[in-house]
Symmetry: C2
Subunit: 222 residues, 2 copies
Amino acid sequence: MATPGPARRLSESAVLDAAFAVVAEHGFDALSIRRVASALGVSPNALYTYVADRADLLRGMVERVMAAIDLSALETTTLSPADRLEQFAVEMRRTLLGHPGGAALIMTGPIDGPHSLLLNEALLRTVVDAGYSLDDAARASYSLQVYVLGTVMLEAADGGTGDPEREEALAVERRAALEHVDASGVPLTAQTADIVARYNTTEQFRWGIRRLIDGMLTTPSS
Amino acid sequence: MATPGPARRLSESAVLDAAFAVVAEHGFDALSIRRVASALGVSPNALYTYVADRADLLRGMVERVMAAIDLSALETTTLSPADRLEQFAVEMRRTLLGHPGGAALIMTGPIDGPHSLLLNEALLRTVVDAGYSLDDAARASYSLQVYVLGTVMLEAADGGTGDPEREEALAVERRAALEHVDASGVPLTAQTADIVARYNTTEQFRWGIRRLIDGMLTTPSS
DNA sequence: CGATAACTCTGCACGCTGTACAGAATCGAG
DNA sequence: CTCGATTCTGTACAGCGTGCAGAGTTATCG
């Protein structure tokens, strides 16, 4: 080894593993330096060898989650560019909601790590392939990310996990809750309760993202 | 008074005022029951008369922020429905980013208070006015909220406050940071650095929300 | 080989958090 | 006047991030 001192007993990767394990078992709110350390059988301050502070730990976790997103739908040339974008968006939403703490993590700070750049790059390639200018491709790429991340945030706040069964259960629950809303001030909302209850579903996500994509890919270049 | 016991020295409204004052002065991360209590010159536990717990305080604050959003653009019948939606979206983003802690607050839990319902209702009216079915109007209303809230979340994580000057300063800063990115793996991102640096600006927001709106209002009913 | 300097990890400490619990003070109703 | 409900204070506990001092381990240099 090139450096003096005792060999490290852990690695940043092991710390991240433990952090995700804590989130998976006890939930994102229970994530703490002390808990991760105890899961690793190590004193809390030992972690500061591997991460600068709690925020740095979160950055590392965000990077992991972003890396877990499968970009391959964007390269599936048998699909139209619009279909590629839609399929990728669905995949991105699914991954973020399914990953333990994924949704909570994307809200903890800027999303600008290496894997986020790669994701942006893959999106850019797809839109450019569709025949759009680089500038418009960049704007479209960001808008798509906005939509996906916004969805994930709202669904996570509502308790969603990406699991279809849970999605269905939440929709039923939400439908029941809407029965108790006073309809007098919000008649249209009351009339559309069946739709409102299903806001946080894959179908609604597809509905919106598809229209965003179509809006972006049909408007002539600015 | 109908109830026994000493008169209340505060009100939920006063507690919320103090909470926003704390956020305005010390930032959202410094918001705590104890700080709010001390700002009110009262012991921490006194707040529990007015709010059930910290989460309940946050709920109240979210409600306040949602109430601050001006819905009048949606009723401006001199504009086309699409223009009304766009103008409202811009206003909603501006309000959330400008309100102290507004962006952070919308990420703290579900957004389903009374004022959120009113906002949804006003959106529904506008889309229905444009000639769309109630069901599509509901879906469109949610999609627009997703886009606005997603934008606000990402911009807030990046340090945005809705202030145009700050927006400009952040764009310059971000442009400089992109110089140091290794362009080899992400050539298109590097080529579009001028756009990427301006992702979190009002222009980019208008670009995206307009295309979402157009995509929603031109696609025939499902 | 022995000294040195670098490095990892532990233990203690500080100030902060939300909030449970007990009790004092204050009031309206019987 | 008493009783019970209500508001607020004070104390206490378990937990948090992390600064600091020191013990132990190791590669490199004289």
